[in-house]
Symmetry: C2
Subunit: 211 residues, 2 copies
Protein backbone atom coordinates (compact mmCIF):
# COMPACT_ATOMS: atom_id res chain seq x y z
CA UNK A 1 0.00 0.00 0.00
CA UNK A 2 1.44 3.43 -0.93
CA UNK A 3 2.07 5.76 1.96
CA UNK A 4 -0.22 8.68 2.46
CA UNK A 5 1.07 11.92 0.93
CA UNK A 6 1.17 13.55 4.34
CA UNK A 7 3.40 10.75 5.69
CA UNK A 8 5.80 11.30 2.82
CA UNK A 9 5.83 15.01 3.47
CA UNK A 10 6.41 14.61 7.20
CA UNK A 11 9.29 12.26 6.45
CA UNK A 12 10.77 14.67 3.91
CA UNK A 13 10.54 17.51 6.42
CA UNK A 14 12.36 15.49 9.08
CA UNK A 15 15.09 14.51 6.61
CA UNK A 16 15.52 18.11 5.45
CA UNK A 17 16.00 19.13 9.08
CA UNK A 18 18.67 16.47 9.48
CA UNK A 19 20.33 17.63 6.25
CA UNK A 20 20.32 21.23 7.52
CA UNK A 21 22.01 20.12 10.74
CA UNK A 22 24.70 18.40 8.67
CA UNK A 23 25.12 21.46 6.44
CA UNK A 24 25.47 23.71 9.48
CA UNK A 25 28.12 21.40 10.91
CA UNK A 26 30.29 20.90 7.87
CA UNK A 27 28.94 22.77 4.87
CA UNK A 28 26.87 21.58 1.95
CA UNK A 29 29.66 20.49 -0.37
CA UNK A 30 30.40 17.41 1.73
CA UNK A 31 26.73 16.46 2.09
CA UNK A 32 25.79 13.04 0.70
CA UNK A 33 22.51 11.12 0.67
CA UNK A 34 24.38 8.25 2.36
CA UNK A 35 25.25 10.48 5.29
CA UNK A 36 21.70 11.73 5.67
CA UNK A 37 20.47 8.12 5.68
CA UNK A 38 22.99 7.19 8.38
CA UNK A 39 22.01 10.17 10.49
CA UNK A 40 18.32 9.29 10.07
CA UNK A 41 18.96 5.64 10.91
CA UNK A 42 17.44 4.40 7.65
CA UNK A 43 18.82 2.63 4.60
CA UNK A 44 19.74 4.48 1.37
CA UNK A 45 16.85 2.61 -0.29
CA UNK A 46 14.44 3.96 2.29
CA UNK A 47 15.86 7.46 1.87
CA UNK A 48 15.28 7.20 -1.88
CA UNK A 49 11.54 7.00 -1.24
CA UNK A 50 11.74 10.57 0.01
CA UNK A 51 14.49 12.02 -2.17
CA UNK A 52 15.48 10.52 -5.48
CA UNK A 53 18.70 12.49 -5.77
CA UNK A 54 21.02 14.84 -3.94
CA UNK A 55 19.63 17.65 -6.14
CA UNK A 56 16.09 16.90 -4.96
CA UNK A 57 17.28 17.04 -1.36
CA UNK A 58 19.10 20.36 -1.91
CA UNK A 59 16.02 21.79 -3.58
CA UNK A 60 14.00 20.83 -0.49
CA UNK A 61 16.67 22.42 1.72
CA UNK A 62 16.33 25.66 -0.27
CA UNK A 63 12.54 25.52 0.04
CA UNK A 64 12.87 24.96 3.79
CA UNK A 65 15.37 27.80 4.23
CA UNK A 66 13.36 30.29 2.16
CA UNK A 67 9.91 29.31 3.51
CA UNK A 68 9.83 31.77 6.45
CA UNK A 69 11.22 34.54 4.23
CA UNK A 70 8.53 33.88 1.63
CA UNK A 71 5.91 33.95 4.41
CA UNK A 72 7.18 37.40 5.47
CA UNK A 73 7.04 38.72 1.91
CA UNK A 74 3.50 37.41 1.38
CA UNK A 75 2.31 38.83 4.68
CA UNK A 76 3.83 42.26 4.01
CA UNK A 77 2.56 42.49 0.43
CA UNK A 78 -0.97 41.51 1.54
CA UNK A 79 -0.95 44.05 4.39
CA UNK A 80 -2.76 47.40 4.35
CA UNK A 81 0.41 49.40 5.05
CA UNK A 82 1.22 52.36 2.78
CA UNK A 83 3.82 51.46 0.10
CA UNK A 84 6.81 53.15 1.74
CA UNK A 85 6.21 51.37 5.03
CA UNK A 86 5.47 48.16 3.16
CA UNK A 87 8.81 48.33 1.41
CA UNK A 88 10.58 48.97 4.69
CA UNK A 89 8.91 45.95 6.34
CA UNK A 90 9.57 43.87 3.20
CA UNK A 91 13.31 44.26 3.75
CA UNK A 92 13.49 44.86 7.52
CA UNK A 93 11.69 41.72 8.68
CA UNK A 94 13.81 39.42 6.53
CA UNK A 95 16.99 41.31 7.48
CA UNK A 96 16.20 40.90 11.20
CA UNK A 97 15.51 37.20 10.72
CA UNK A 98 18.81 36.65 8.89
CA UNK A 99 20.77 38.88 11.26
CA UNK A 100 19.49 36.90 14.25
CA UNK A 101 20.43 33.65 12.53
CA UNK A 102 23.88 35.11 11.83
CA UNK A 103 24.34 36.17 15.45
CA UNK A 104 23.17 32.78 16.73
CA UNK A 105 25.66 30.93 14.53
CA UNK A 106 27.83 32.87 12.04
CA UNK A 107 29.54 29.70 10.78
CA UNK A 108 26.23 28.01 9.98
CA UNK A 109 25.14 31.23 8.24
CA UNK A 110 28.28 31.16 6.11
CA UNK A 111 27.58 27.53 5.19
CA UNK A 112 24.22 28.54 3.70
CA UNK A 113 25.84 31.44 1.83
CA UNK A 114 28.32 29.02 0.27
CA UNK A 115 25.63 26.50 -0.49
CA UNK A 116 23.53 29.18 -2.18
CA UNK A 117 26.51 30.30 -4.28
CA UNK A 118 27.19 26.77 -5.41
CA UNK A 119 23.62 25.74 -6.15
CA UNK A 120 22.31 28.98 -7.50
CA UNK A 121 19.74 27.18 -9.66
CA UNK A 122 17.85 26.20 -6.49
CA UNK A 123 17.99 29.79 -5.28
CA UNK A 124 17.04 31.63 -8.45
CA UNK A 125 13.30 30.99 -8.24
CA UNK A 126 13.24 32.61 -4.78
CA UNK A 127 15.17 35.62 -6.04
CA UNK A 128 12.66 35.89 -8.88
CA UNK A 129 9.79 35.61 -6.39
CA UNK A 130 11.27 38.40 -4.24
CA UNK A 131 11.58 40.55 -7.38
CA UNK A 132 7.96 39.80 -8.21
CA UNK A 133 6.72 40.92 -4.79
CA UNK A 134 8.98 43.98 -4.74
CA UNK A 135 7.62 44.93 -8.17
CA UNK A 136 4.10 44.80 -6.72
CA UNK A 137 5.10 47.26 -3.99
CA UNK A 138 6.81 49.48 -6.58
CA UNK A 139 3.68 49.48 -8.76
CA UNK A 140 1.58 50.42 -5.73
CA UNK A 141 3.99 53.26 -4.93
CA UNK A 142 3.84 54.43 -8.55
CA UNK A 143 0.06 54.50 -8.22
CA UNK A 144 0.59 57.06 -5.46
CA UNK A 145 2.89 59.16 -7.61
CA UNK A 146 6.30 57.86 -6.56
CA UNK A 147 9.17 57.14 -9.00
CA UNK A 148 7.84 59.35 -11.82
CA UNK A 149 9.51 58.78 -15.17
CA UNK A 150 11.01 55.44 -14.12
CA UNK A 151 10.03 52.02 -15.51
CA UNK A 152 9.20 49.31 -12.97
CA UNK A 153 12.18 47.16 -14.04
CA UNK A 154 14.63 50.06 -13.70
CA UNK A 155 13.16 50.98 -10.30
CA UNK A 156 13.41 47.35 -9.19
CA UNK A 157 17.05 47.16 -10.21
CA UNK A 158 17.95 50.48 -8.54
CA UNK A 159 16.25 49.47 -5.28
CA UNK A 160 17.87 46.02 -5.28
CA UNK A 161 21.24 47.74 -5.66
CA UNK A 162 20.62 50.45 -3.04
CA UNK A 163 19.37 47.92 -0.51
CA UNK A 164 21.79 45.10 -1.49
CA UNK A 165 23.47 44.91 1.96
CA UNK A 166 20.06 44.20 3.54
CA UNK A 167 18.77 41.61 1.08
CA UNK A 168 21.53 39.85 -0.84
CA UNK A 169 22.59 37.19 1.64
CA UNK A 170 26.27 37.10 0.63
CA UNK A 171 26.55 40.91 0.76
CA UNK A 172 24.75 40.96 4.11
CA UNK A 173 27.29 38.55 5.58
CA UNK A 174 30.16 40.78 4.42
CA UNK A 175 28.74 43.95 5.96
CA UNK A 176 26.62 42.58 8.85
CA UNK A 177 28.38 44.48 11.64
CA UNK A 178 27.52 47.83 10.06
CA UNK A 179 23.86 47.16 9.29
CA UNK A 180 21.03 48.51 11.45
CA UNK A 181 17.28 48.89 11.08
CA UNK A 182 17.70 52.64 11.51
CA UNK A 183 20.05 52.83 8.52
CA UNK A 184 17.73 50.65 6.46
CA UNK A 185 14.83 52.99 7.26
CA UNK A 186 16.89 55.99 6.14
CA UNK A 187 17.83 54.19 2.94
CA UNK A 188 14.19 53.32 2.19
CA UNK A 189 13.26 56.96 2.77
CA UNK A 190 16.08 57.97 0.42
CA UNK A 191 14.76 55.47 -2.15
CA UNK A 192 11.29 57.02 -2.03
CA UNK A 193 12.29 60.66 -1.77
CA UNK A 194 15.43 60.41 -3.90
CA UNK A 195 14.06 58.37 -6.80
CA UNK A 196 10.97 60.60 -6.81
CA UNK A 197 12.77 63.95 -6.82
CA UNK A 198 11.91 66.02 -9.88
CA UNK A 199 13.27 69.47 -9.21
CA UNK A 200 17.00 68.92 -9.10
CA UNK A 201 17.31 70.52 -12.52
CA UNK A 202 20.86 71.02 -13.75
CA UNK A 203 22.25 69.81 -10.42
CA UNK A 204 21.48 66.14 -11.08
CA UNK A 205 24.09 63.76 -12.35
CA UNK A 206 21.64 61.23 -13.78
CA UNK A 207 20.97 63.46 -16.78
CA UNK A 208 24.70 63.76 -17.52
CA UNK A 209 24.95 60.92 -19.98
CA UNK A 210 21.83 61.92 -21.84
CA UNK A 211 23.05 65.52 -22.14
Amino acid sequence: MPRAQSDIEAGQERLVELACALIEERGGQALTLQEVAVRAGISPAQLARYFESREALLEAVAEYWFRPKVAIMEEVVASELPPRRKMYEFFARRYVMMRDAYRADPVAYEMYVELGNEYFEQVRSYVDLADHYLSMIIAEAMGEGFFPGLEIDMTLSLINQMVAPYCTIGVMGMLMDRLTEEKLARIIDAVFDGLSAQDRGAMGVSGLRAA
Copy 2:
Protein backbone atom coordinates in the same frame (compact mmCIF):
# COMPACT_ATOMS: atom_id res chain seq x y z
CA MET B 1 78.10 50.04 -1.77
CA PRO B 2 74.35 50.11 -1.08
CA ARG B 3 72.14 50.37 -4.10
CA ALA B 4 70.52 53.66 -4.84
CA GLN B 5 66.97 53.94 -3.47
CA SER B 6 65.54 54.35 -6.97
CA ASP B 7 67.20 51.09 -8.08
CA ILE B 8 65.59 49.27 -5.17
CA GLU B 9 62.23 50.77 -6.03
CA ALA B 10 62.48 49.91 -9.70
CA GLY B 11 63.39 46.34 -8.75
CA GLN B 12 60.48 46.12 -6.32
CA GLU B 13 58.08 47.39 -8.96
CA ARG B 14 59.24 44.79 -11.45
CA LEU B 15 58.90 42.01 -8.86
CA VAL B 16 55.42 43.18 -7.89
CA GLU B 17 54.41 43.01 -11.54
CA LEU B 18 55.72 39.45 -11.72
CA ALA B 19 53.86 38.58 -8.50
CA CYS B 20 50.64 40.02 -9.95
CA ALA B 21 51.04 37.88 -13.07
CA LEU B 22 51.41 34.80 -10.83
CA ILE B 23 48.37 35.82 -8.74
CA GLU B 24 46.29 36.31 -11.87
CA GLU B 25 47.33 32.87 -13.10
CA ARG B 26 46.76 30.83 -9.96
CA GLY B 27 45.54 32.98 -7.10
CA GLY B 28 47.40 34.53 -4.19
CA GLN B 29 47.14 31.64 -1.73
CA ALA B 30 49.67 29.59 -3.66
CA LEU B 31 52.11 32.48 -4.10
CA THR B 32 55.54 31.97 -2.58
CA LEU B 33 58.66 34.15 -2.55
CA GLN B 34 60.53 31.20 -4.03
CA GLU B 35 58.24 31.18 -7.02
CA VAL B 36 58.61 34.91 -7.60
CA ALA B 37 62.39 34.51 -7.45
CA VAL B 38 62.29 31.71 -10.03
CA ARG B 39 60.04 33.74 -12.31
CA ALA B 40 62.38 36.73 -11.95
CA GLY B 41 65.46 34.58 -12.59
CA ILE B 42 67.13 35.61 -9.33
CA SER B 43 68.04 33.76 -6.13
CA PRO B 44 65.89 33.87 -2.98
CA ALA B 45 68.74 35.78 -1.31
CA GLN B 46 68.61 38.41 -4.04
CA LEU B 47 64.82 38.60 -3.75
CA ALA B 48 65.16 39.18 0.01
CA ARG B 49 66.93 42.46 -0.75
CA TYR B 50 63.66 43.72 -2.17
CA PHE B 51 61.12 41.95 0.02
CA GLU B 52 61.98 40.56 3.43
CA SER B 53 58.82 38.50 3.70
CA ARG B 54 55.77 37.27 1.85
CA GLU B 55 53.74 39.83 3.83
CA ALA B 56 55.95 42.67 2.61
CA LEU B 57 55.45 41.47 -0.97
CA LEU B 58 51.65 41.25 -0.55
CA GLU B 59 51.59 44.71 0.95
CA ALA B 60 53.41 45.99 -2.12
CA VAL B 61 50.91 44.12 -4.35
CA ALA B 62 48.03 45.88 -2.54
CA GLU B 63 49.76 49.25 -2.96
CA TYR B 64 50.27 48.52 -6.65
CA TRP B 65 46.64 47.41 -7.16
CA PHE B 66 45.16 50.38 -5.30
CA ARG B 67 47.54 53.02 -6.71
CA PRO B 68 45.44 54.00 -9.76
CA LYS B 69 42.25 54.01 -7.62
CA VAL B 70 43.92 56.30 -5.09
CA ALA B 71 45.04 58.57 -7.95
CA ILE B 72 41.41 58.80 -9.14
CA MET B 73 40.16 59.65 -5.66
CA GLU B 74 42.81 62.34 -5.18
CA GLU B 75 42.14 63.85 -8.57
CA VAL B 76 38.37 63.94 -8.03
CA VAL B 77 38.58 65.36 -4.50
CA ALA B 78 40.99 68.09 -5.68
CA SER B 79 38.77 69.00 -8.63
CA GLU B 80 36.50 72.05 -8.82
CA LEU B 81 33.37 69.98 -9.51
CA PRO B 82 30.27 70.58 -7.37
CA PRO B 83 29.90 67.98 -4.57
CA ARG B 84 27.18 65.89 -6.22
CA ARG B 85 29.15 65.54 -9.43
CA LYS B 86 32.30 64.97 -7.41
CA MET B 87 30.69 62.08 -5.57
CA TYR B 88 29.47 60.58 -8.84
CA GLU B 89 32.95 60.75 -10.37
CA PHE B 90 34.48 59.44 -7.13
CA PHE B 91 32.57 56.18 -7.57
CA ALA B 92 32.06 56.08 -11.35
CA ARG B 93 35.70 56.36 -12.41
CA ARG B 94 36.83 53.56 -10.10
CA TYR B 95 33.82 51.44 -11.03
CA VAL B 96 34.63 51.79 -14.75
CA MET B 97 38.27 50.89 -14.11
CA MET B 98 37.32 47.76 -12.16
CA ARG B 99 34.55 46.79 -14.58
CA ASP B 100 36.99 46.98 -17.49
CA ALA B 101 39.48 44.85 -15.55
CA TYR B 102 36.70 42.36 -14.84
CA ARG B 103 35.66 42.22 -18.49
CA ALA B 104 39.25 41.80 -19.63
CA ASP B 105 39.82 38.87 -17.27
CA PRO B 106 37.07 37.83 -14.82
CA VAL B 107 39.20 35.03 -13.33
CA ALA B 108 42.08 37.37 -12.55
CA TYR B 109 39.56 39.79 -11.01
CA GLU B 110 38.24 37.01 -8.78
CA MET B 111 41.81 36.18 -7.71
CA TYR B 112 42.25 39.73 -6.39
CA VAL B 113 38.87 39.56 -4.61
CA GLU B 114 39.98 36.37 -2.85
CA LEU B 115 43.38 37.82 -2.06
CA GLY B 116 41.77 40.93 -0.57
CA ASN B 117 39.44 38.78 1.56
CA GLU B 118 42.32 36.74 2.90
CA TYR B 119 44.72 39.59 3.57
CA PHE B 120 42.27 42.21 4.70
CA GLU B 121 44.92 43.88 6.87
CA GLN B 122 46.72 45.02 3.73
CA VAL B 123 43.45 46.35 2.31
CA ARG B 124 42.07 48.12 5.36
CA SER B 125 44.22 51.23 5.05
CA TYR B 126 42.90 51.80 1.52
CA VAL B 127 39.31 51.37 2.68
CA ASP B 128 40.03 53.91 5.42
CA LEU B 129 41.57 56.26 2.86
CA ALA B 130 38.49 55.99 0.62
CA ASP B 131 36.29 56.75 3.66
CA HIS B 132 38.48 59.77 4.41
CA TYR B 133 38.10 61.17 0.90
CA LEU B 134 34.38 60.43 0.77
CA SER B 135 33.98 62.23 4.11
CA MET B 136 35.63 65.29 2.55
CA ILE B 137 33.07 65.28 -0.26
CA ILE B 138 30.24 64.78 2.26
CA ALA B 139 31.50 67.72 4.35
CA GLU B 140 31.61 69.87 1.22
CA ALA B 141 28.05 68.84 0.36
CA MET B 142 26.94 69.64 3.91
CA GLY B 143 28.48 73.09 3.47
CA GLU B 144 26.03 73.54 0.58
CA GLY B 145 23.06 72.43 2.72
CA PHE B 146 22.85 68.73 1.84
CA PHE B 147 22.23 65.96 4.39
CA PRO B 148 20.68 68.23 7.05
CA GLY B 149 20.40 66.62 10.48
CA LEU B 150 22.84 63.82 9.64
CA GLU B 151 26.29 63.35 11.17
CA ILE B 152 29.19 62.86 8.74
CA ASP B 153 29.85 59.31 10.00
CA MET B 154 26.21 58.27 9.59
CA THR B 155 26.10 59.83 6.11
CA LEU B 156 29.32 58.03 5.19
CA SER B 157 27.93 54.70 6.33
CA LEU B 158 24.59 55.19 4.52
CA ILE B 159 26.33 56.15 1.28
CA ASN B 160 28.77 53.23 1.49
CA GLN B 161 25.79 50.91 1.89
CA MET B 162 23.66 52.47 -0.87
CA VAL B 163 26.58 52.43 -3.31
CA ALA B 164 28.08 49.10 -2.12
CA PRO B 165 27.65 47.33 -5.49
CA TYR B 166 29.79 50.05 -7.14
CA CYS B 167 32.61 50.26 -4.61
CA THR B 168 32.98 47.12 -2.51
CA ILE B 169 35.01 44.92 -4.82
CA GLY B 170 33.53 41.61 -3.67
CA VAL B 171 29.97 42.93 -3.99
CA MET B 172 30.78 44.41 -7.39
CA GLY B 173 31.96 41.02 -8.65
CA MET B 174 28.69 39.41 -7.53
CA LEU B 175 26.45 41.95 -9.27
CA MET B 176 28.68 43.14 -12.14
CA ASP B 177 26.30 42.21 -14.97
CA ARG B 178 23.57 44.47 -13.60
CA LEU B 179 25.68 47.55 -12.91
CA THR B 180 25.72 50.57 -15.22
CA GLU B 181 26.94 54.15 -15.00
CA GLU B 182 23.36 55.30 -15.60
CA LYS B 183 22.12 53.42 -12.54
CA LEU B 184 25.01 54.71 -10.45
CA ALA B 185 24.12 58.29 -11.47
CA ARG B 186 20.50 57.72 -10.43
CA ILE B 187 21.65 56.27 -7.10
CA ILE B 188 23.95 59.25 -6.44
CA ASP B 189 21.05 61.59 -7.23
CA ALA B 190 18.88 59.56 -4.83
CA VAL B 191 21.62 59.85 -2.19
CA PHE B 192 21.68 63.65 -2.51
CA ASP B 193 17.95 64.23 -2.92
CA GLY B 194 16.78 61.40 -0.66
CA LEU B 195 19.13 61.93 2.28
CA SER B 196 18.42 65.66 2.09
CA ALA B 197 14.59 65.43 2.01
CA GLN B 198 12.99 67.20 4.94
CA ASP B 199 9.31 67.41 4.16
CA ARG B 200 8.25 63.78 4.16
CA GLY B 201 6.56 64.32 7.54
CA ALA B 202 4.56 61.38 8.83
CA MET B 203 5.18 59.45 5.62
CA GLY B 204 8.80 58.68 6.44
CA VAL B 205 9.86 55.36 7.88
CA SER B 206 13.13 56.60 9.38
CA GLY B 207 11.28 58.27 12.27
CA LEU B 208 9.41 55.04 13.08
CA ARG B 209 11.76 53.73 15.70
CA ALA B 210 12.11 57.05 17.45
CA ALA B 211 8.31 57.45 17.56
